[in-house]
C-alpha cells in the first residue's frame, strides 16, 4: 500500500465528516418514507356499496396484527334517531389522514408525523404512549395498543402502499366500496370520483380537511350543528 501515514491523517477530517453525515443522510431517507413520491394518497368510500360485512375490519386486523377489541377500521352500523323516526346506516370509518391533523401538534415527542404522501403515521420507536393524540382525534380513530403500549391507528397500510399494493381493506372489500388512490393524479379513480361527485367528509366543521371522502353519505353524517337545515327527512331518504 502506497498511502503514507501523512496522507491518511490529511484524509482523516474528510473521513470523519463523511461518517458523521452518512447516518443522518440514511436517517433522512428512512425518517419520512413516501418523501420520494409525489403522491397524495386518499380514499373514497362509496357507502351505497357497503354491505356491512366487516371483511375490511377483519382483513385490517389480520394484516396489521391489531389486538383484540381494537380496530384500525370498522364499519359502524348506526341507528340514528330524530324526534319521530329511526334509521339504520352503515359507515366505514378509519383514520382520515387529514391535511390538518389535530393529532400531530399535540404529540409531545413528535412521534406522530405526516409523510409527504399525506399518510399520518406513528413512529413506534419514539411514541411514549401518553395517549394525548387519542384524546385529540375528533374521529375516535386512534387507540393505545394494549400489546405494544403505543398509539395505534390506520396507516393506509403504508407498508403495502410503498410496495405498490392496495391497503388490505380496499383489496378485500366485497362490494368495492373503498377506492384508494392518488388524489394528485388526474387519471386516478379517486380523482375522477372527487371531480365528478359531490363528496362529503366527516365533521368538516373541525377544519381538519379529511382525506377520506364519502360518496352517498347521508346528509346528517356531514356533522353540522343542529338547526342548519340538515335534519333527517325520512321520506327523502327512502324510509
Amino acid at each position: 500500500m502506497n498511502q503514507s501515514r501523512r496522507d491518511f491523517l490529511r484524509a482523516l477530517p474528510a473521513i470523519t465528516a463523511g461518517a458523521a453525515i452518512a447516518p443522518s443522510a440514511a436517517f433522512a431517507a428512512t425518517a419520512e418514507p413516501g418523501s420520494e413520491t409525489k403522491h397524495r394518497w386518499a380514499m373514497v368510500v362509496d357507502v351505497r356499496k357497503c354491505i356491512g360485512c366487516q371483511a375490511c375490519t377483519v382483513s385490517c386486523i389480520m394484516e396489521n396484527a391489531v389486538p383484540e377489541n381494537s380496530f384500525r377500521t370498522i364499519v359502524s352500523t348506526y341507528e340514528v334517531h330524530d324526534d319521530t323516526r329511526t334509521g339504520t346506516y352503515m359507515l366505514p370509518r378509519l383514520c382520515n389522514h387529514c391535511a390538518n391533523p389535530p393529532c400531530i401538534p399535540v404529540c409531545p415527542v413528535g412521534a406522530t408525523f405526516q409523510r409527504k404522501d399525506g399518510v399520518v403515521v406513528v413512529d413506534g420507536d419514539r411514541c411514549v404512549g401518553c395517549a394525548y393524540c387519542v384524546q385529540a382525534c375528533p374521529y375516535d380513530a386512534r387507540f393505545i395498543n394494549h400489546d405494544t403500549g403505543k398509539a395505534d391507528k390506520c396507516t393506509f397500510c403504508a407498508h403495502r402502499v410503498d410496495a405498490g399494493l392496495l391497503p388490505a381493506c380496499v383489496e378485500t372489500c366485497v362490494g368495492g366500496a373503498r377506492i384508494f388512490g392518488d388524489i394528485d393524479d388526474p387519471d386516478s379513480a379517486v380523482r375522477h370520483l372527487i371531480d365528478e361527485n359531490k363528496l362529503k367528509v366527516l365533521k368538516p366543521e373541525m377544519g381538519t380537511q379529511p382525506h377520506v371522502f364519502y360518496l352517498g353519505l347521508d346528509e346528517r353524517f356531514q356533522g353540522r350543528v343542529e338547526g342548519q337545515g340538515t335534519l333527517w327527512q325520512p321520506s327523502k331518504h327512502g324510509a
Binding site: N69, Y78, P108, G129, D140, T148
Partner: protein, 401 residues
C-alpha cells in the same frame, strides 16, 4: 414577631416509624402495580380504547395541581410581603416538591411505555402542551429547590424574595399548562374550554392549602410542638375563600358550557344523568368537597374546632379527587359526537357512554404516588429544618399580647 427557630423533627418515635412503614408499603404496592401493568399491558387496567386516561391520571393530576397550590402559602409571604406567612414557607415549598414528585411518578409510570421516559425527556414537539409541561415540571422543581436553598442558607438569604417571585411565576405557569392540556382538546366536548386554565389555578389554591393545613396540623400534633390559633384561623379562613372561589369558577364553567348548544349533551351527562359522574359531581365535589367544608370552616360553634378544620381539609381533598375523576374520566366517558344534533348508537361503541371500572393495580399505582409524596415530605421534615419549633400565637402572631 419573635425570632423563629426551625428544627428537624426527631423522627424516632414508634408513630413516626409506623407512618413511614405504611407509606413505604403503599409506595411499594404502587411500584409493584406499575411493574405488573408494564408486564401485562394496559389490558389489565380498566382503561379502554375510549377511556385512555384512568384513575392513575386522576391521582397524578390532582397531586400536580395540589403541588402548585401548596406553594401558595410561601408565595403569600415572599411575593405579597405578608410576614405572618414567612415561617410557614419552608414547609410549603417542601410539600410542593413532594406532591409534584408523587404526581410525576404516577404520570410517568402510567405511560404506555414508561421505559421510554428518556424519549420524553430528550425529544420535544413545542406545539404540544404536553411538551411545555415537561419543562414546567422540571422548571418548578428547580425554582422551588432554589427557593428552599435561599430560605435555608443564610449566605444567600438576600435572594429569597426574587427566588420566591420566580417560584410563584413558575407555579402559575405550571397550573395554567396543566389546565391547558385539557383546554386544548377541542375534540372532546367537556374539555374544549379556555376556562380550564384559570379554573385549575383556583383549584390548585384550594387543594394545596387543604393538604398544607392538614399536614401542618398533623406535624405539630404528632411532634408536640405548639401551634396557635392565629395560624390555624388565618389558613382556614383562606381555605374557605379558595373553596368559594372554586365553586364560583365551576359555576361559570358549566354556565358557559350551557351557553353553547353543542355542549348541552355533555353538560346534561355530568349534571343530570351521568350516573356515577353526576353523583360524584354533586355529592363528592359540590356537597362533601365544597359546601360541607365551608360550613365546617365558618359555622359558629364548630369553626374553631381543630377536628372540624382537619375534617374539612380531608373533605376538600376528597372533593378534589372527585372533581378530577369527573373531569378526566367523565369527560372521556361521554361519547364523541360524530353527528351533532342526533342521537347515535352503533355496533362499535359510538354514541354510548363508555364504561370504566378502575382495576386494583391502577388504583394502587395512584395511591402509591400519594404515598411517595408523603415519604418525601416525612423524610424531608426529619433531615432538614423545615418546621418552626413553635407556631404558638406569641411567636407567630405579630399582634399577640
Amino acid at each position: 414577631m419573635k425570632i423563629i427557630n426551625y428544627r428537624e423533627i426527631e423522627g424516632r418515635s414508634s408513630g413516626f416509624l409506623i407512618l413511614l412503614a405504611i407509606l413505604g408499603l403503599l409506595a411499594l404496592l404502587g411500584l409493584g402495580s406499575a411493574h405488573y401493568m408494564e408486564e401485562h399491558g394496559h389490558v389489565v387496567t380498566g382503561m379502554t380504547n375510549q377511556i385512555v386516561w384512568g384513575i392513575p391520571h386522576v391521582f397524578a393530576v390532582f397531586l400536580i395541581v395540589a403541588a402548585s397550590g401548596a406553594l401558595n402559602v410561601a408565595s403569600i409571604g415572599s411575593v405579597f410581603g405578608k410576614s405572618f406567612y414567612k415561617p410557614l414557607a419552608p414547609l410549603s415549598a417542601l410539600l410542593a416538591i413532594g406532591l409534584l414528585g408523587g404526581g410525576l411518578t404516577v404520570l410517568m409510570l402510567d405511560l404506555g411505555r414508561p421505559d421510554r421516559v428518556i424519549v420524553a425527556a430528550t425529544h420535544y414537539n413545542f406545539k404540544s402542551v404536553f411538551a411545555w409541561n415537561v419543562f414546567l415540571y422540571s422548571g418548578f422543581f428547580g425554582a422551588v429547590a432554589i427557593y428552599i436553598w435561599t430560605m435555608m442558607d443564610k449566605t444567600v438569604s438576600s435572594y429569597t424574595k426574587p427566588a420566591g417571585y420566580l417560584a410563584f411565576v413558575v407555579r402559575l405557569l405550571l397550573t395554567t399548562g396543566t389546565g391547558s392540556i385539557f383546554g386544548f382538546l377541542v375534540a372532546r366536548q367537556f374539555y374544549d374550554s379556555a376556562l380550564l386554565a384559570p379554573m385549575f389555578i383556583i383549584m390548585s389554591f384550594s387543594y394545596g392549602l387543604a393538604i398544607y393545613l392538614g399536614v401542618l396540623m398533623a406535624s405539630y400534633k404528632w411532634t408536640n410542638r405548639p401551634l396557635g390559633d392565629a395560624v390555624i384561623n388565618r389558613l382556614k379562613n383562606l381555605l374557605g375563600v379558595f373553596i368559594a372561589a372554586v365553586l364560583l369558577l365551576v359555576t361559570i364553567f358549566h354556565m358557559t358550557n350551557l351557553y353553547f348548544t353543542k355542549h348541552h349533551g355533555v353538560e346534561a351527562f355530568i349534571l343530570l344523568n351521568g350516573g356515577i359522574y353526576t353523583s360524584l359531581f354533586w355529592l363528592g365535589q359540590i356537597i362533601l368537597g365544597s359546601l360541607v367544608p365551608l360550613v365546617l370552616l365558618y359555622a359558629p360553634g364548630i369553626s374553631k374546632s381543630r377536628s372540624a378544620i382537619a375534617f374539612a381539609c380531608g373533605l376538600v381533598i376528597l372533593g378534589g379527587l372527585s372533581q378530577m375523576y369527573v373531569t378526566i374520566i367523565g369527560g372521556q366517558a361521554y361519547p364523541l359526537v360524530l353527528f351533532p344534533g342526533y342521537q347515535e348508537s352503533s355496533s362499535f361503541f359510538d354514541g354510548v357512554v363508555h364504561n370504566y371500572s378502575p382495576s386494583l393495580p391502577e388504583t394502587l399505582l395512584g395511591l402509591g404516588g400519594m404515598a411517595i409524596a408523603g415519604i418525601i415530605v416525612t423524610l424531608g421534615l426529619k433531615v432538614l429544618r423545615f418546621l418552626p419549633l413553635s407556631l404558638a400565637d406569641s411567636v407567630a402572631d405579630p399582634h399577640a399580647k
